[in-house]
Amino acid sequence: MSPPGESLAELTAHELAERFAGGTATAVQATEAAVERIAATDEVLHAFLTVTGDQALADARRVDEARERGERLGPLAGVPLALKDVLVTKGIRTTAGSRILEEFVPPYDATVVRRLREAGVVILGKTNMDEFAMGSSTENSGFGTTRNPWDPTRVPGGSSGGSAAAVASGQAPLGIGTDTGGSIRQPAALCGIVGVKPTYGLVSRYGLIAFASSLDQVGPFARDVRDAADLLEAIAGHDPMDSTSIPDAPVDVTSRLTDGVEGLRVGVVKELFLEGTEPGVLARVREGLERLERLGARLQDCSLPSFEYALSAYYLIAPAECSSNLARYDGVRWGLRAKDSADVVDMMQRTRQAGFGAEVKRRIMLGTYALSAGYYDAYYGQAQKVRTLVRRELDDAYERFDLLVGPTAPTVAFPIGEKADDPLAMYLNDVFTIPVNLAGNAAVSVPAGLSDGLPVGLQLIAPALGEATMLRAAWAFEQDLGLSTRPVQPARDAEPGSVTAGAEEVRP
């Protein structure tokens, strides 16, 4: 039994696993604790779009029964999880944060969802996100903004803000997000948790509602590195349904997790320390660099000049792909359909006009323009060249370095509404995360402490399939820094702006 006063919702996945194994807690109890926490906090946080409590309890019961029968279970069996509403779930509404899919019930499970179920993970429901994963604050959701548990007047980051807020607040020990330009790492940083963007092709995209196919990747959220590593192992691996999935990719990222950073060559990327980065963020990250050095890593400055153009290239490639990927939402087959249309073209136009939000429309138009006859070479073609350049520079850097390091985001969590009407300011929040997506590399954001009471993330970047080394370094860093892995909680009926006093206590 858990100690009095401590909810199972406070625990990490591996702590839960120990209790399950020791018979002091059950999956049903852990799930009940999570569902209660959601009920108590989500009115403020709005992390979930759909909570599937009954199904979660039934799934948890099956895991407990299997354990009673003595079946061999994985490390995540019975552990609750918050799933970003961009991965399709058979029979469970999946919206991608868009009004156009408000009523959409998919006929199949994403490969990641199937793998989670096979691992015995208990899916609590579907979390809020920027519409079609386009955004850095979750303010672009068609169903309202998610709030940051550290300060409900602030954004949780995005686009996977719902999953990040859920994990940070103890609604779930684990979360799944997707990262196209930073959408796992940036909210992880802003919510003070761990977020991994795996190598492109390591985790199947089958059943991930596409934003930008060549950049999208599914990855884990957790409150510590071990949990993130276990969750990555559960979802990684080749999938014949995804042609871009890497055959024979190594999925073992845990067996050498505790081996430390002694002797690792770490490059400090000059271009990730841009002017305009908040001083508090820079301070925590510089302390982090010193910590890594103290732990035995060999740090050296490096420069990757092409990073300067990465943001511009990204905002041509991603919209170009999205303009095509989102063409299927036309009212013909599923989702919203405008009524009383004159003809099929009118129906399609009015459906898309009504169903898509402003940011999605903006990117569809940007992308359509970038691919248009006469502009393709100047925009999309040029952006692909930048992409090649970024990849090449990174490949060169990996000749000299095992890992690269920098801040995850230039700011801490910003107030809701601050950048909502300024797309460019919003785009700039992804400036440190985007180059990794262009290159298809792996990266992790790990908590590096607070600035003015708000979390700062340290970003570790690894070559393709370098997850094991990267998470090893993240684990060593995390252990040495020694932050609490307990969740933060907004006050039950918090007016925006107030957080429980406990937050400061548990996160130094």
Binding site: L87, V88, T94, A96, L101, F104, P106, P107, Y108, A110, R205, Y206, G207, L208, I209, A210, A212, S213, S214, P240, M241, D242, S243, T244, A320, E321, S323, S324, A327, R328, D330, V332, R333, W334, V344, V345, M348, T368, L371, S372, A373, Y376, Y380
Partner: protein
């Protein structure tokens, strides 16, 4: 100058330039990017899955067999197989296209730079093949309401069974110069596809269709004229008529001092004219870009050479071999080779059981006689009985037996035709049918003399004409004797007996 005169002048001054894009369904068991069956004619929307319906989150995986088929087509058309090729997305909105983009190939197709030799009235023309590329088919829309067309329909139903069926597009160079050449190219291409066994190439079911670019230019000019695209021609007859009409129309426009516009036109089979299509439906910027959900296709030399080695005998080689082995004229050889089923049947009849002409053995039956029957009477009966070569109830060995009776003089040609028709409904051997119907040829002089005398007596005027030197009337008299004997008389013998009886 009248229009007619102008056109007359135009025919002399201009040459027609034609290039053809052929779309052809591949006969793979499954679709291009998913595991749904690719068969024709199932209940609507029963052969679909998240991938071919374009469900959110679904991803395509290329069908290896379809890629192989496309490469074999390329090799048969003497193309180079690109070491690296790539799928692209062709973006446009259409209700029966699930993703509102079509996965196709653009500037990195699988096969490039080939040619096909086409026999046009005994003369060989080499037609360049620009490219062969792969793409997926769309669904099928059924417009319900007054007109049956999209405009004015009450509502529309969509069948996605066809969505994702693998297609190849075969693009020719503008090397064709007449409707005859265009038709000959299409026929030859169809024969190649059938020989490869990669497509049913059934025009009537739409598994092979043509988009044709037609322009005209003054004879001797190197520059091309303004191009008009004729979309979706789905028979060889339409292809021929549409090209012929369009070329004449263009000459007329120029002769009347008009200007041609680059446009897409629709061939109306009913009126026999081409009409401009609504430009709004086709004036589209497709915004092609590389399909990020699929990895490039890497064609290794070993794979390509393996496919090349596995190519079957192609129509041109087959024609040469058949002409050599059978002595048949080019036209008949060409006809036989066009359809592999017809050819296999022919060879089985000629060679007797099991020994086709393919192995170089001397034919056991006269190929000219066999060809005549297979192409003539057999086809007529197939049409009559609503059968095809595939459902032909008369096996080659049974037709062979019948032709043996004919060669032995035991049955007349006329009677043999009745026997063949009878064999469509009876399983009896030709010899049994002949006996049962009393069709054994009368070669007995005594039996025929009586009939001959009766016919001569009944037609004194014809006999008189014959004696007066009009030998042509003999045919009419022979015909009467044949009728009286229900076709059983030996015509050669009848002819001799008649001449003797009239005493010419």
């Amino acid at each position: 100058m009248t229009a007619a005169v102008a056109e007359e002048a135009g025919v002399r001054r201009y040459e027609t330039v034609i290039g053809i894009e052929t779309h052809c369904e591949l006969s793979t068991a499954t679709k291009m990017f998913c595991a749904c069956p690719a068969t024709f004619g199932a209940e609507p929307n029963t052969q679909t899955c998240p991938v071919c319906l374009g469900e959110p989150g679904s991803l395509p995986v290329a069908n290896g067999r379809a890629v192989e088929y496309a490469a074999r087509i390329g090799l048969a058309l003497h193309c180079r197989i690109a070491e690296r090729s790539q799928f692209h997305r062709k973006n446009y909105f259409y209700p029966d296209m699930p993703k509102n983009y079509q996965i196709s190939q653009y500037d990195e197709p699988l096969c490039v730079d080939g040619w096909l030799d086409v026999d046009v009235e005994g003369e060989v023309r080499r037609v360049g093949i620009t490219r062969v590329h792969m793409e997926e088919d769309t669904g099928k829309t059924l417009h319900v309401g007054a007109t049956g067309r999209i405009h004015g329909a009450d509502y529309s139903l969509i069948d996605y069974n066809r969505a994702g069926i693998p297609l190849v597009e075969i693009v020719s160079e503008p090397d064709l110069r007449s409707a005859e050449e265009a038709r000959a190219y299409a026929e030859e291409l169809r024969a190649v596809l059938l020989a490869l066994g990669v497509s049913d190439a059934k025009l009537e079911e739409g598994s092979m269709r043509f988009d044709v670019n037609v322009s005209i230019r003054p004879v001797g000019h190197a520059e091309y004229g303004t191009k008009v695209e004729l979309k979706n021609l789905n028979s060889l007859r339409s292809l021929y008529r549409a090209v012929d009409y369009e070329a004449a129309r263009q000459r007329r426009v120029l002769a009347e001092g008009g200007k041609l516009v680059q446009e897409t036109r629709h061939w109306d089979e009913g009126t026999g004219r081409t009409e401009p299509m609504r430009s709004k439906e086709f004036a589209t910027d497709y915004r092609y870009f590389p399909e990020p959900d699929l990895v490039p296709i890497e064609a290794t030399a070993g794979w390509v050479e393996g496919l090349r080695a596995g190519l079957p005998e192609l129509p041109a080689e087959r024609r040469a071999r058949l002409a050599e082995a059978t002595g048949l004229p080019a036209k008949e050889v060409g006809w036989l080779v066009r359809d592999p089923e017809v050819l296999a049947y022919f060879e089985a009849v000629v060679g007797g059981a099991g020994a086709g002409a393919a192995d170089g053995a001397a034919p056991t039956r006269d190929p000219r006689v066999v060809a005549g029957w297979v192409m003539g009477e057999l086809q007529r009966d197939l049409r009559e009985f609503g059968r095809t070569m595939a459902t032909n109830p008369v096996g080659p060995e049974r037709l062979g037996e019948l032709l043996d009776l004919l060669a032995a003089g035991r049955v007349s040609a006329t009677a043999a035709k009745d026997v063949l028709a009878e064999m469509f409904t009876s399983e009896a051997s030709p010899a049994t049918v002949v006996k049962r119907k009393g069709l054994t040829q009368i070669s007995d002089t005594g039996e025929l003399e009586a009939v001959v005398e009766r016919v001569v007596a009944a037609n004194p005027d014809l006999a008189e004409k014959f004696r007066g030197g009009k030998r042509g009337v003999l045919g009419a008299l022979v015909g009467q004797v044949m009728r009286e004997t229900r076709g059983r008389a030996n015509p050669k013998l009848v002819s001799d007996l008649l001449e003797r009886a009239i005493g010419g």
